[in-house]
Subunit: 553 residues, 2 copies
């Protein structure tokens, strides 16, 4: 597999099994090149969690300010700090904490967020003044553009949602201080995101941070007497609590990815995906699926909801990225159980309180490859987006074709790895750029995990490049759809149609400097991302996410 070595800017690179050049070493740590979509076995045998700060009954965890928390946690140069993204573009916690950190002149921090949003644009100043010199986590929109231009000292490391938790559990990343926004907290540190004026939903993205960080600080605007129920983050993993005026604006969890599409070309993709699923007999009692964000995924969820109600069918469970469409299914009886890792609207937040068959899950439960119990596994089907796909069904969700690193991996790899049948829903072109490529600019999810690519003009089924255990099944899907007269093409034909629709491939003008690394869910390295030399080849969309870049962000 490891066929070649290529020294470059002082680094040694090696080709992984997908033929992508990846660094042998990063920041002194040996990188394992990607081997196979199945993943590698855990590199450690035991997880190393934390012992919470020792206190006697009566000692208080409540501090008067973020500054006091920084003191108590001993935050200093070079440490790693983490945040969850449940408040999405309404989050105030990250900026609030960074403001106090910068005012103290602490430098050289590694930022380990579960995701960043446009609201976090002030981070650019923290990068400029050396407060932040390293980021491991998704870079959306403005910060991604800034980093793509070579403005961050260390290459960013991108992991999927579950890859991030796996990294924590295996000591690949060690958080010094986790700052976790909670909409409700009691004096013992038991916290949730479903009660209080800033309720934002589940807190699963902060669970592992609290468990594995050296110190955990809950930032809340709603401190209640014990017990705060439900307990999403147990106080047993919390050292300090800071009450602030406001942790954010829950309205901000509704962001650009959460508008259902009304574009006719996109709706063609939605209808085509529905037709395929119907044709191959998925729509019956017991159906299980993964829902997500992005205009097309949202529309599919809505269409499934409508169809199940009309036909009087009952799905067993769905996992979300939860929106009102899933809540509606749950409430009208066409869905038995709803498992939620992220809430994408206020209806989802309320339902977590009101509906007993709607359950919050941690990211570990959702998709950590090394737990042996991912809830993605029993899912029959999932719908994901892409910025590009290629002839081997490989998917890029991270960079645009011009090379800019503008998106995180989200749950893309997680869901593709676990669920039975993975759809990629993409338009043939965006702004004249063909989306079906010879080779993806950046490899985010291996084509082995992708089963069907659906475009507005037709779809392709992965029979050759899919993982071997589903090739026969995919061949049957192909035959069934052919018999049904559905618009099937092979991937090369889709590529030609994309070229006709779009025109010439946009090519990235990148330099030698590595600015980012894409890790697979098992911790191996799928690809690297290089610096973009020319700043204005393509307009960056005003929304930080393309409408269907990833279904489970």
């Amino acid at each position: 597999m490891l066929t070649s070595m290529m020294p470059q800017e002082g680094r040694r690179f090696v080709l992984n099994s997908k033929g992508r050049a990846v660094p042998e070493i990063l920041d002194g740590v040996e990188m394992i090149p990607y081997r196979s979509h199945y993943g590698i076995e855990p590199v450690v045998k035991r997880e190393v969690g934390r012992v919470t700060r020792w206190r006697r009954p009566g000692d208080s965890k409540c501090l008067s300010s973020i500054d006091e928390a920084l003191n108590r946690c001993g935050l200093s140069d070079g440490m790693t700090i983490s945040f969850h993204h449940h408040l999405r573009n309404g989050d105030r916690v990250l900026n609030m904490v960074m403001d106090r950190i910068r005012s103290r002149g602490i430098k050289g921090l590694r930022l380990f967020p579960s995701a960043l949003f446009p609201v976090h644009e002030p981070l650019i100043d923290a990068i400029r003044d050396g407060t932040i010199t390293s980021i491991e986590g998704s870079l959306n929109g403005p910060i991604g553009r800034f980093v793509s231009q070579g403005n961050l000292e260390s290459p960013v490391v991108l992991r999927s949602h579950s890859g991030r938790v796996r990294a924590l559990s295996q000591g690949e990343v060690k958080i010094d201080v986790a700052f976790l926004g909670a909409s409700c907290c009691d004096p013992l540190g038991n916290a949730n995101g479903v009660n209080g004026p800033s309720a934002f939903g589940p807190m699963g993205f902060g669970y592992a941070d609290a468990l594995f960080a050296e110190s955990t600080v809950i930032i809340t605007d709603y401190l209640v007497p014990f017990p705060c129920l439900p307990i999403s983050i147990p106080g047993t993993n919390v050292d300090w609590i800071v009450k602030v005026d406001s942790i954010g604006d829950p309205a901000g969890i509704l962001s650009g990815t959460l508008q259902i599409t009304d574009r006719e070309d996109h709706l063609k993709i939605v209808r085509s995906t529905m037709e395929i699923m119907d044709r191959i007999g998925l729509f019956k009692d017991g159906f299980t699926f993964q829902a997500g964000a992005g205009g097309i995924s949202l529309a599919i969820t809505k269409y499934i909801s409508d169809l199940f109600r009309e036909r009087g069918l009952v799905a067993d469970y769905a996992s979300g990225g939860t929106t009102k469409y899933l809540v509606r299914m749950l409430r009208d009886g066409s869905l038995k159980t709803l498992l939620t890792g992220q809430a994408f609207d206020i209806e989802a937040v309320r339902s977590l309180i009101d509906d007993r068959n709607h359950v919050e899950v941690t990211v570990d439960q959702y998709a950590n490859i090394h737990t042996g119990a991912t809830i993605t596994e029993p899912e029959q089907v999932a719908f994901l987006g892409a910025t590009e796909v290629d002839l081997d069904f490989n998917v890029n969700v991270n960079t645009h074709s011009d090379g800019y690193l503008l998106h995180g991996i989200g749950g893309h790899q997680d869901v593709a790895w676990g669920s039975g049948l993975t759809f990629i829903t993409v338009p043939l072109e965006r702004k004249g750029n063909p989306i079906i490529r010879e080779k993806v600019t950046t490899l985010s999810t291996p084509g082995e995990l992708i089963d069907v690519i659906v475009t507005e003009r037709g779809f392709a089924v992965n029979t050759e490049h899919a993982r071997k255990e589903v090739r026969e099944r995919n061949q049957e899907i192909l035959s069934s759809c052919e018999k049904g007269g559905l618009p099937i093409f092979n991937i090369e034909e889709l590529r030609k149609m994309a070229l006709r629709e779009g025109g010439k491939d946009v090519e990235a003008r990148t330099g030698d400097q590595m600015i980012g690394l894409i890790k697979y869910i098992d911790g191996t390295v799928l690809d690297k991302v290089n610096i973009v030399l020319d700043g204005d080849q393509e307009d960056v969309p005003s929304s930080f996410l393309t409408p269907s870049s990833s279904g489970t962000r």
Copy 2:
């Protein structure tokens, strides 16, 4: 503190801060003598958990038999195995697994149960034939008697419920294979105890076992499609699943400790405890308390329930050891929230499903001293039993006065450490044996943590020997009760009354051989227990527990 060394049967002993001789070393491991009721800081900085067995999607966790599980887990001589006790005297899992282990001739195992019950009497055969050579966990009734006579190779180590979990989290005990009975489980290993034909309630006593064991096996008689909800044990910590015909008889969770007392002397204790609480103004909205098993504790819970309903008061929360009396309070609105670590009757099991403000908690959350978030801490009051108390308010719950080790610590230390005001409810004598002693035969819970001792003839308040931060408060309690004309005595007076009521102290006829060790919640050693030389000084009660030996077993 460590004033003397006393070599004995090849061991070196040292006096701890309570003047009890404890071994310096046990099985090659250095023992830390008990220092203070506050506890010591954690001896480790990080918890070491497990990485679940690696599997690919589609690989099954379900095995055909216990024998196959023993094979897959590689169970062999000298390993440590664990069980939870939620099915109490109705449990079939432990005997079923031990039967298969014995049939394979595996020897020298260490047994680490959360508690043993009379139903586990067949263990005596496993001790006799060398299958089990060491036990760390409570020994109730017949097995305790057998061990007290010197029949186990290694001294047993007794820990409180939370001390057991602390030991796991700090690597003090490492489980090789945890066998956890579940009344419901899905193919990913997500399990609970509230669904299915053998529903027994929460599974909090198995949570830490699943998290820290090298291998975890769920034994269930009710395998359901994913998802099994609620998830009490996450499948992320489960390696294997074995379906059996029956895990036990849930009727067996109702055992001898769960009969409400109707003895007039006991009811005097109950009424007196109620009077004290009323006199000092505890009975008002916002009341919080710990409930437990034992006839007297049960009666107090019932009396509180009656009183709150009559007066239209609303308690904030109770933590149980949950029975129908607490469920009734919850349902009639006189209790806002109920937290349950153990279900003591079928009403408690059903309520966990039906009542959303009734929540299952893990033992870690309940009382692990090193988590900084024990739910015992905000409790205003708790009621515990004793086999003996002494002039320093020290409590014995483990041995009878004749020296026989017949009871575990249960939650005794846990609750006394955390809750605000700790009552010990005891009769002055049992079968002619005075219960108030000069010195307790065995030190289970330090007198510093005890506030009031209530007997059928009167009560004593701990003003001198209590922890310093509550002495003033206890003095106020004393004054208030005196003003109210309640029957207050000092502890020496109670001792004299006990002697008058009971007669002569039963004295233990013990030899030099150490057969047991009593650990404090922080892992330090409180006391040792020696072999009993004469087998029939006192009748062992037909019930394996004295009516009020511990409130939170």
